[in-house]
Structures are given as structure tokens and as C-alpha cells.
């Protein structure tokens, strides 16, 4: 079956195996790294385009995560990702902002809310109400705002509102507009 356990042989063998592993993976990483980065860029581009269909370019400030949306080189809006804590975990929201600080719109990028209830936050019916809203509108109707909650999913809705508010405030402090 297996060779003897004499002396240093086992350790040497294991070290060799780990080295082979590192070499093999470095090779694979070399092949895939660019592809993976490209796939991610593609994904961000598609994501931004859902809010700004007229976009033909974008810039990103790595530090703050703020995207500047460009058409023919000039700024037409900004976007930022915000994360909120919903019923079932993290909700990632993409927020698009017009230069006058009104919302272009929002998109829910990922969530794990209850299917059929909170998960409806990804539906167009729910999301389109955010277009054109200002910071002041961002609260549930019953709290004086303009957001209609999803029936039976107040927590998920509130989480989204919270995330959007934080995103806008963040854009504001990063020198937006």
C-alpha cells in the first residue's frame, strides 16, 4: 500500500505536493484572471446600463465605489452600490442618481428575501416607483414618504428604503452633483 513513514520522507512528500499545487494553480490563475476581470467589468456595465441606457462610458472611483455615468464624455449621472440588511440577509442595491440629486432609479442586484413576498423587491412594479424620488420621498407612506410597501413585506421594503437613503447620503458626501 503506502510507503514507509521513515524520517523526513512524509514531510518532504507533502511539501512537494503543496508546491505542485501552488504551481498548478498559479498557471490556471494566469489563464483565467483576465477573463474573470473582463466578466466582472461586463457585468458592471450591464448593470449600469439598466439604469442609464444612454450610457456609452463610465468611470469609477475605486475608493468610494462611485460610478460616474458618461455620454460622449460628459457626466449625466452617478451610481453607487449600497447594501442593506433585509429579512433574509444582505440586499445589494444599485442606485442611480441624476445630477439634480433625484433618483434615476434603483435595481436590486442580489437578495435572499422570502420568495413571493420580500423577493418581490426585484420586480419592476415595485422598483419603478423610485424613479424621480428625492431624499425626502424615501420613507413608507405611513411614515410620511412616498414609497408603497409590498403587501406583507414591510421589512424587506424598509430595508430597501434604508439602503437607498444611505446610498444617496454617501453620494452627497463624496462630492456629488
Amino acid at each position: 500500500m503506502a510507503k514507509g513513514n521513515g524520517g523526513a520522507y512524509p514531510i518532504l512528500f507533502l511539501t512537494l505536493v503543496v508546491l505542485v499545487s501552488i504551481v498548478a494553480l498559479t498557471l490556471i490563475d494566469g489563464i483565467t484572471r483576465e477573463r474573470i476581470a473582463e466578466a466582472q467589468r461586463q457585468e458592471i456595465q450591464e448593470m449600469l446600463a439598466t439604469l442609464f441606457p444612454e450610457m456609452d462610458g463610465y468611470g469609477v472611483d475605486e475608493g468610494s465605489g462611485v460610478y460616474t455615468i458618461l455620454v460622449s464624455g460628459s457626466l449625466v449621472g452617478q451610481a453607487v452600490m449600497a447594501q442593506a440588511t433585509g429579512y433574509g440577509g444582505a440586499i445589494d442595491i444599485l442606485i442611480g442618481l441624476e445630477p439634480d440629486q433625484r433618483l434615476r432609479g434603483i435595481r436590486v442586484i442580489s437578495q435572499s428575501e422570502t420568495p413571493g413576498l420580500g423577493a418581490k423587491i426585484v420586480e419592476a412594479d415595485f422598483l419603478e416607483q423610485f424613479a424621480g424620488m428625492t431624499l425626502g420621498d424615501l420613507a413608507l407612506r405611513k411614515n410620511g414618504g412616498s414609497v408603497d410597501a409590498i403587501t406583507g413585506a414591510t421589512i424587506s421594503t424598509s430595508a430597501v428604503i434604508d439602503g437607498v437613503r444611505r446610498g444617496i447620503l454617501e453620494l452627497g458626501t463624496e462630492g456629488g452633483g
Partner: protein
Amino acid sequence: MGAWVKNFTNGIIRANPTFILLLGLCPTLAVSTSIDNAFGMTASVLFVLLAANVIVSALRRWIPDRVRIPTFIVVIATLVTIVDLALKAFIPPLSKSLGMYVPLIVVNCIILGRAEAFASKNTVWHSIADAIGMAVGFGAAIVLISFFRQVLGSGSLEVFNVRLFSIPGFVDNPAAIFLLPMGAFFVIGVLLALFRWMGVSECE
């Protein structure tokens, strides 16, 4: 040849990793929300299991007994990372669906178990049979569970973005609970009982 076939079919029925050995449950239940995921996960497991079995079997005479588990682990972890990177680069949507459960294949008891119990003690040829059989058994199980979860949970069946069928009336108001984690537990519990009742496995 008879022995090869025997080793192969072992993994499908008699020692089905999911339903009989109750191994590798983490990924099975986690990704079984759709059949596409199930296929993707099965393909990943098949690759890792096959490669791991072949490598361990080929090297079995040189692996020192004392470091055999760490060796298996490094081999499997390397293969899993290869699959993870390949998916991220070439099939990003699948990589997103399967998420961290791809790297978690490394602690999937099926693979480590087969390396230890079979590949380290048998020839490469037979280890291949074992690997494919176990992967098929695993695949059958996860596809079966996904089938029920997807149909009951969303009222329709979609494979590779092609809608195969939907149940009229049900599709608008499906039993969404099956898409939630607990749905997975219910489905596998019932299926296990069903298999016992059919006499396929023994009761405790």
C-alpha cells in the same frame, strides 16, 4: 470487466452517496433550487471526484501513510480551485448560482471518503469506475431533489432557460416554501422514506 461494472453501479444504487451513505449533503440541499444548478454541481463534482480518484490511485504506492489525509486534502483542494476559477471565467452565471458551494466541495465527504476508502487501495481503472458511479449517483439524487423543489416551488420546470412545462394555475401561486432551505429538508426526508418503503434501502 464485471468488476468494473460492479464498482460503477455501486455508486448509483447500493451505496448511493446521498440517499444511502448520507454524504455530501451540504451542496446537495443548498444548490437544489433549480435543475440547472444541479447539473452544474454534478459536473463539478464529477470532475473533482474523477481527477482526485485517478491521482490518488496513481500515486497510492508513494503516499506515506502518515500524511495521506493532508495529501488527499491538498489534491482535492487544488482540483476544486481549478473548477472554481474555470467556472468564474467561462460560465459566470453558474458560478454565481453555485457560489461558495463550489469551493466547499473540498470538504464534501463523498470525495474525501472515496479517496480514502477506495482510490488509495485500488487500481486507477477501478477507481475511475468508482468515481463515475458515485458522481452519477450523486447527480441522480441532486437532480431528483431539484426537480421536486423547482416544480413545487415555482410551478414550472426550466432547464437551461428552456421552459419545459408549467402547471396551470399552480404556477401563479406555487408552494414557495420548497425554494426555501426548509423545503429541501422536507423533500429529502420524504424521498428517503419513499426509498425505504420501496425496499431499496433498509430501515434502521
